[in-house]
Each structure stands twice: as C-alpha cells, then as structure tokens.
Amino acid sequence: MRTMKRVAFLAVLAAAVMLLAFSFGVAAKETITIRAWTVGPDTPAFHRAENLVTAGERLNQMLEAVGADIRVEVDADFWTDDWDSFRRRVILASEEGDPNVVPDIFVSSHLDIPVWASSGWLEPLDELIAPYWESTYEDFFPHLWDSVTYNGKVWGVPQDIEVRMVFYRKDHLQALGWTEEEIADLARRVEEKEFLLSDLVALAREMRDAGLVDYPIVHRPTSGPDFFQFVVAFGGDYYDAEADKLVIDRAALEATLKFFADNANEGLTPDGMTTWPWPAVHRAIAIEGTAGMQITGGMWFWAEWQRDFGITEDELWENLTWTLIPAGNEQGRPNQLGHPLAYMVTAPSRHKELAALLITLASEVDLNTRHALEAAKLAIRRSQTAFPRFTESEYLAEAAKLVPHQIFSAAHAAFGRYTSALHEAVGGVETGALTPAQGVDLIIQRVTQAVGDDVIIR
C-alpha cells in the first residue's frame, strides 16, 4: 500500500515537473523565485522555512533529471519577532497586493485563514492540491483539514499540530505516596473522566499542605486559546461551525471563571498569575519544581526547556508527567486544544501551481518529521507515525496519544477578541476585581463590541 502511494506520488510529481519544464521551457535557463514568509516565533520551528528550501532543492534535482532549463529558487523568511508584528507585516503587504512585495507562500496560524481568506488575500487550494491528493494529502489526519477549511473551501495545507496538556510534577506525586503505576494510570483516569478538575484541585491542596510546592497550580500568564479548554471541560462550546458564529456559553464560562477564581482565592494559583513573566512559569514547573501543575502546558515546551534552561530530556522525564485537561463536570469532557499552522498560497502570487508543488514537497514525511522533532510537534500524516525517526522519539509518541481528544480554535475572525476577553476575565476574577458572573458579562460586552449581535449567547 505504501509503495503504491509512493509510486503514485512520483508519477504525479513527474507530470507536474514536466508541465513546469515545458511551460517555461522557451527561455534559456530561467530561474523562478518563490518567496515565502514563515513565522516561529519560537526559534526551534525554523524548519517551517527550511523545509520549503529543501523542497526547492529537490525540485531542482528533478528538473535537472528531466533536462529542463528552469530552476526554482526558494527565498524563505523565518520570523522570530512576535506574532503581532508578523501579522501586521502580512496585512500591510497584502493590502497593498503588490506581487513584488507579497510572497507566494505564507506559513501562519490556521486562525488567520478566516481573516485572510475573507479579505481575498489567499488562494483557495482545493484545485491546486487536487493532483497530489491521493499521493500526499490523503495521508493527513482528516480532522486537520477542518482547521484549514473556511466557507467550504480549503485555504491551507496543515504544517504542524501540537497538543496542549496539564503537566504534573512527578516528584511531588511520588512524595505524596503515588506509586509508579498510579502515576502512569493518571492519564487514563483523566481520559475516562475518573479524575476531574475538582480532583486536580484537591491534589493541588494536598501538595500545598504537604509543603511540597509554593505554587500548586500555575497557568499561562498571557492570553491564549488554552482557556477555552476549560470551557469545553465544563461542557460548553465556543463556536458554531455551521452558523459560523461564536458561541458564548454563559454556564460553562461562569463555571470556568469560578474555577480560576476559587483557585486564586484559595491561594492555589499564585497571586497575580496573569502578571507573571513566562520564564518564571517555566522555571517553576520544569526546573525548580516550586509549582505542582501547569494546567495550560504545551508540548513544544519540551524542546524549549532544554534549550533555554539547560535541562536534559532525561531530567524532564524524571520530573514531569502529563494528561489531557480533565473534565470539569458531568457534561464536560477531557480535551486538549491544538493550534495547527498551515501553508497558504497568496492570491497575488504569479506561480500558484509551483507554490502548491513546493508545499507538497515540503510536506514529505521526512521533512515534516524533522520539523516535528526539532520543534516538538506532532505528526500530521498517518505514515509519519510509522516513520522510524518519529517513532524513535518517545516523547512525540507519548504525546501523540492525546490527539483523539483534540479541539481547535474557532475559525472565526473575532475569535482573537473572544480569546483576549476570556483571558481578561480570568485576570479579573483572579484578582477579585470581578465575580465570575461579571466576568461573563465582560466577555459578552467585549465580543459584541466587535461583532455586534452576530453571536450566539446561550
């Protein structure tokens, strides 16, 4: 089966290459430059650009093999400044629409797709990737395509995916008398709703009472979609894909906010959590163990902890374990939120087919796997999970087990605002400035400011 696919892929590729060779063949030795803007911002993700460059090299080899006179040069940029400046750059360039400025390919968050596609800056990919569907794209995990679909069209090729999780300090669990088996069993208990958020809080209390930790529960200080995991854990929803409307689920939001408020009031979450600098959070959970749990962890932390704090992977294995975000109540479910990045082809691009071909080449298993390994991301293709270098990584294999419970951010233009509003409300209830109910009102106000009545309030 796999060999068949491989053959099919090569055949399609050959056809594409020949087509390319002939369509430009008239002029002598022509070089086509394909430009791409990719973004980290975290440095280990540099293969987002590198893979495109390698794809270009491979394509050139093929072109040379068929004796074509044209060559492709990939000019890929990798952005490590913040998201904000990357997006501002894309927006301003796209608004101008000059093909000399706008690159052919963007690699960005799937969240950008509704915004950029609705502005007419992107090219729908359905037809462009159709030739490679069977050879390449059918192999992708199907749910990933949902994250890049907007208005019934596919606008991006998934580039990577990760999972978010709750990290627990193993050493503290052991200190509380947990056996290795009990620790290993935790993930299952969470998955089967035997271990709920209330149990997590109780565990945090135990850790604190045993004097093991200063900060039983920590979470991300800045805004991010992670907080929606708790809305789902409390049985709520935040997006109605059919109606393409954001959903404000009062009960679940209030339960979520109450969860954060109670933790803060009880001192389980440190004072002023939303004002912590990120490095302090990382150090507390991964290096020093002054925290018991990080409830908004992300799997890519693994790579960065090693890079920035000089800790080894063995030490991480020794000290940390993780689970899904536990369910909050009977209606809720354990979950984790994924945030796929995607390749996109820009509307002003002069070489859309070529761009699609490069993207396809960059999505090859070996290339995508090297990205996954370097940046601690998950597989996006089924065959990747069987790929030797991938399976060798125990971490990726283990983390991949959380995938079935994945949810995504809402593919809605105002989701960013919703995310910020939820984060603000969390900050508000944690500092006691708001009650959970007032927090929900604030969220409603902030969201409706942006979208008017175009929102479902339950």
Partner: protein
C-alpha cells in the same frame, strides 16, 4: 546713618574660638551633605546598576542559577558576532550599518529642518511667531504609534515604504518639536549685536544666519544631534512595520526577534546582543555629552 554706625559698634563678632567651632560645624555639615548625596545617588541607582550587572553576567555565562549566580563562564553568547544565530537572521554588520544609517539620516534631517524653523521662531519678526511655538508643543501630543496605519498610507503614497529614508523622515517629524525647542533656546542666547553687525557689514539675514549665527549655536546642533541619534538608534516599531525586507532591518528588530513572543528567552544571546546594541550609543554619549549638557530651554539666560 548714625544709628547704623552705633549698631555696627555693638555688633559682636565671633571670637576666634567660636569661629573655629562654627567652621568645624559647617565643615561636618558639608561632609554629611556629600555623603548623603552619594548615598542617594547610589541607592537610587541600585536597580540600574544591578539590572545591568545582571545583563552583563548573563551575557558571559552559560546559565544563571536562581537567576543570579553564573554557572560556567563562556563567550559563546557573543558568537552572533561572527555567525548568524540562524540563517533567517540578517547579517549583523549589515543590520548595524542600517541602524547607523537610520540614526545618522534622522540626525541630518532633524538638523536641516529644525534649525531654520527654530531660527525663524526665535529671531524673526512675523505674525504668528509665538503661535508657531505653541503649535510645536501641540504636535508633540500626537501619539506616533497609533497613527501607524495612517502613516503607512502616507509612506505608501510617497513611495517610501521599505526604505530607511521613509522611516527616518517619520522619526524626524516626531522629533521635530523637541528639536525646535532645543534650537530655539540656543538661538535665543545669540547676541543681537553680533547679528546686527553682520547685517551692517552688508550681509543679508540669510548670510548672517549661515556665517555668523550658526557657528554660535554649534553646541545646540550637537545636542540636538545627540538626542536624535539616540532616538534613531533605538527605533523599533516603524522599522518593523514599514520595512518588509529583513535586509533593511535595524538592530532593535534584531534584538526583538531574539525574544519573539516572550515565552522563551535565550537570556545569554539576548544580553550579549543588547550589550552590543547599547555600547555604541553609550560611547557616543560619553564623547559628546559635553554638548548635551549645554541645552537651555526657555527664555534668555539670567
């Protein structure tokens, strides 16, 4: 008069002993003041001294235990001087050159624009003179950054996007109020007699400005140049917004892109690049500060 005289006679002067005691008192008061002033400066400067000390430690150590104690000395954090942190960074020296270009360009534009304007406001008689000065104050109340989008349109229609020139023009515009105020202060202090004698000697007002007045406000031009150089050197948001090509980046974008979204920071690299970034301005300041210290704002001296 007589009264004053008798009073003088009655006035008891200090005895030598008493005078010595008083002098000693004054002296110890004086010493206490000196100690107090040093203590104040040192205590107040502690956050800066410690903060930058920490930066220095960071740049020369592998990692800091507990955030302070260096573990393993190294110069590897400075490897960016001879190799790129990753191939997606623009060349450091080119970036430094761009930064210099931006700072110098802005300085030159500032001098060219603010000097004549300040001269006119300070020394020429025309209706609306003080209104001009008031206007410069009002201009300063425009928040540069929230005009970002509008400025983008302006630069685009002027065909100045993606160029350092566009950025330093905008920057010079934003610095203009300060420049005019500084230069006005200097022009105010140029003696009128000198300018008058220039006129009497047959020069036009423009010639006197160029040949007689300008040489006298050199320290002012230097001070303004320092202000704008420092300002241009540290510019970030306009560069990152209006310049799409990394080849035209400046050092602040370079430093910012080491930090990224602030989740993970390579403290060593960050500190090393920050020091690299700070050093030239610091040296520049030390060598030019005597001009900076001549700034007078406001009316004529005395």
């Amino acid at each position: 008069m007589a009264q004053l005289k008798t009073e003088r006679a009655q006035l008891s002067r200090f005895s030598p002993e008493r005078l010595r005691v008083e002098a000693r008192k004054e002296k110890s008061k004086d010493r206490a003041l000196t100690v107090f002033i040093y203590a104040f400066l040192i205590v107040a400067s502690l956050p800066i001294i410690l903060g930058y000390g920490w930066l220095l430690l960071n740049s020369f150590s592998e990692t800091l235990a507990y955030g302070v104690l260096p573990k393993g000395w190294t110069i590897k954090n400075f490897r960016f001087l001879w190799e790129l942190p990753s191939r997606y960074y623009p060349d450091l020296w080119r970036t430094t050159w761009n930064t210099l270009l931006l700072a110098v360009g802005m300085t030159v534009i500032m001098i060219l624009i603010a000097t004549p304007a300040a001269y006119v406001i300070s020394r020429m008689k025309f209706p609306g003179r003080s209104m001009m000065l008031a206007m410069t104050l009002i201009l300063h109340s425009f928040p540069g950054v929230t005009l970002l989008i509008s400025l983008y349109y302006v630069l685009r229609s002027l065909n100045l996007l993606n160029s350092i020139v566009g950025v330093f023009l905008v920057k010079a515009g934003l610095m203009l109020p300060l420049g005019i105020w500084i230069m006005k202060g200097f022009f105010d202090n140029v003696s009128w007699d000198v300018e008058m004698s220039g006129l009497v000697d047959g020069a036009s007002r423009l010639q006197t400005l160029y040949k007689i007045v300008l040489p006298q406000v050199k320290p002012g031009i230097a001070a303004m140049a320092i202000f704008s150089f420092i300002n241009g050197w540290s510019e970030y948001i306009y560069v990152i917004t209006f310049i799409q090509k990394k080849e035209s980046w400046t050092l602040s974008s370079y430093v910012n892109s080491i930090i990224g979204d602030f989740q993970f920071i390579d403290y060593g690299l960050l500190s090393a690049t920050a020091l690299f970034y700070i050093l030239p301005v610091l040296l520049f300041f030390i060598f030019t500060q005597k001009y900076l210290m001549t700034v007078t704002v406001g009316g004529t001296k005395g």
